[in-house]
Symmetry: C2
Subunit: 423 residues, 2 copies
């Protein structure tokens, strides 16, 4: 993704009327003792990776593992007695659902969460386990939204919007108060954008406390809704993204003018950059980031020059990623790094061959991870077979050395893209 033109010069900031620094400071007092004051820590391995000086704000350590608790807690705490008695409703398949459920239970407020029927089991269960009533309806987010609005009207429930709400925006903005308290000389904050609540609150706080700080937004390239709104463009929104937490098709009405005023630029990141960033958080920083949570790092990987040598604050905003998907990302990254390599060999179909190949690979220092044997391919002679072997390798040079050795032995190796024989 190439560098985008600046949306607006970062100063002087014009504070939108809805949310002020005072609101965010009040929100912080509301959160005290109920939401974790997360650590902001230097991340030397990520600094080495990106060439910047990277600091990570660990919002994935919140009880429900995302920053969404901040906004939800502030919103719910602001309700009056009658509203609390009637209860709240939200539509979300993700972190907002759990955040609302958790703080509603804590405050004794009945919560109804509407989720599309396609929501993964594990998210439905997690939300129910937090005491919320989950209503599954609608094939799409839009259908679920319409149904949720109908239920809200019918039962007179308070709507808890995931981003287009001044209390939510103020709650999310408390992150920057903590970050600048811990590391006052941050040069730039890189903040994921879904509907824009996170970046709006934090941009207001950052510009009020430190006008010179630069705020960079990040969207996934498949859902450039805020980017479209800012640039008057209409790139399509859609598709399966690893960063489903920021896959929002329309910019918020409250958040858009704040982003327009206070955000220097929006970087669009593609899926492979998000995947690399998730893996880097896990393997280098030993922490779990969901796709949206890794979007800030993905933006740094996308445009390293822009951040080189600067003190960069990343909000690791969520850690809820499906373990199966995470496992698959980790294996794919090992393949990309040539630390796992797969070869398809053509072999004579007689006893002892597999032993010979395995011994040769052992001599070459290649640890065998998987073997798969095919006799039924049409391009194999009747007395021959194909053998897929997947091995652990040191690096690209080692993989190449193994390839050449197998070729010299007459096995006609073909390098395979995926871990073909990996269980």
């Amino acid at each position: 993704m190439s560098r985008q033109r600046p949306i607006n010069p970062p100063s002087p900031p014009k504070h939108p009327a809805q949310v002020t620094l005072a609101d965010i400071e009040a929100a912080r007092r509301t959160l005290a003792g109920h939401v974790l004051r997360t650590p902001l820590l230097a991340a030397p391995p990520l600094s080495a990776l990106t060439g910047a000086s990277v600091y990570v704000k660990y919002e994935n350590l919140q009880v429900t593992n995302s920053f969404k608790e901040r906004g939800a807690c502030v919103k719910l705490a602001a309700l009056d007695a009658g509203e609390r008695r009637r209860g709240v409703i939200a539509m979300s398949a993700g972190n907002h659902a759990q955040a609302v459920a958790y703080h509603a239970r804590r405050l004794g407020i009945p919560a109804t969460i509407v989720m599309p029927v396609t929501t993964p089991f594990v998210k439905v269960k997690a939300t129910e386990a937090l005491g919320a009533t989950v209503v599954l309806c609608g094939e799409t987010v839009l259908e679920a939204q319409l149904r949720a609005e109908a239920i809200a009207a019918e039962r007179d429930l308070v709507w808890v919007h995931p981003y287009d709400d001044a209390h939510i925006i103020a709650g999310q903005g408390t992150i920057t108060l903590e970050m600048l308290e811990d590391v006052p000389d941050l040069d730039v904050l890189v903040i994921p954008i879904g509907g824009g609540g996170l970046i709006a609150g934090n941009a207001i706080a950052a510009h009020a406390l430190k006008p010179a700080i630069e705020i960079i937004g990040v969207e996934c390239a498949l859902y450039p809704s805020m980017w479209n709104a800012i640039h008057g463009a209409d790139r399509p929104c859609g598709g399966a993204t690893l960063a489903e937490g920021i896959a929002v098709s329309r910019a918020g009405a409250l958040t858009l003018p704040i982003v327009r005023d206070l955000v220097a630029d929006i970087i669009l990141v593609d899926e492979s950059q998000i995947e690399r960033a998730v893996n880097a958080f896990l393997t280098l920083q030993k922490t779990m980031a969901e796709g949206a949570g890794a979007a800030g790092l993905a933006a740094m990987l996308a445009e390293p020059k822009r951040f080189a040598g600067r003190k960069v604050g990343l909000i690791l905003c969520g850690g809820n990623i499906d373990p199966r998907i995470l496992a698959s990302i980790m294996v794919r990254e090992l393949e990309r790094d040539d630390r796992i390599a797969s070869f398809r060999l053509t072999i004579p179909d007689r006893p002892g061959i597999l032993g010979q190949i395995a011994s040769r690979l052992g001599e070459l220092g290649a640890n065998i991870l998987g073997v798969d044997h095919h006799r039924l391919f049409l391009d194999v002679p009747a007395k021959g077979a194909k053998l897929d072997v997947t091995v652990e390798t040191r690096d690209g040079a080692h993989a190449e050395q193994i390839f050449r050795a197998l070729k010299d032995e007459g096995y006609q190796p073909v390098r395979m893209a995926g871990g073909a024989a990996l269980e």
Copy 2:
């Protein structure tokens, strides 16, 4: 693992002569600014899992992702000018190697690290990347040790022992100073034991600051060396463990008397408990623990009653785990939780059958993860085939429901132990 008898009443503590609270407080001043003062955070999901009130000390956030930096930094800082010029040597295939390499480079001290030839590539590379000279020799740790001692004598290098050293013990003990500063009312600390450096330093600090605190040690059941030494037993040490960081066959000479005096008990944990704990840290707490790093939580899973209702401090002492192994643990845990289930079906070998089965599974709400087709098994009729299907399920009841449906359709399902058809 059943409850072990207390080794010794926890008070009055007799402080071994070698290391005192004053030494540990001095070590803390040495570390300031060079080693991360890690966060100690409440871990509600782990509290819910164990029935205790769990606090986690995130030593995996250190630059080289383990607590070993504390001892290494204190030891290296104590060297005189002549020793620094000559350089240091250590034998380690793991975290101690990287900790010594990192702080030696920082202090401008040449470091030689001897590793057994069986050490994984990635650890060799990581240690070299930190500026150390790596010498690969010896099939076993013992052979590598002998070679390292020979090199040390030959070149007059300073030996940096991983645990049997007063500076190392004092450095590791700084963890408890920080923990009790953050959460003074901890009731018990659960601390992994390899050679015993970590538990020795922290037991000294804890008993000096808060004599009533209970210190529980954890060893993996495959390497009960400290347990043997304390109990005068001789259970065998050996085997492949996920907790290779604490797979030590002989208790330290300095550390043993400290453990004897100050540690209330040692819990032995088996591999499945360690695996569960690694997975719980990752999926519930969104952080990466290596086997040894998760040993404290494994002990809580092994003996939950002992910790129920108490404030428990866990030292997540290291996060260096091979991504492939972690990926495999995650998938295995999903299988154990019945969130992934595999069935082997006997099917007539004609067109359309796979489509029928896939449609039926879809109706049942089972997401297909993998399919594998066999025609060559001898127990299949010539016109039949075996089909292995792996599906994502909600829970055990859902898996059972799918099993019964497949049986009713005549596919003679057999439940498979592993993700047979999972790529």
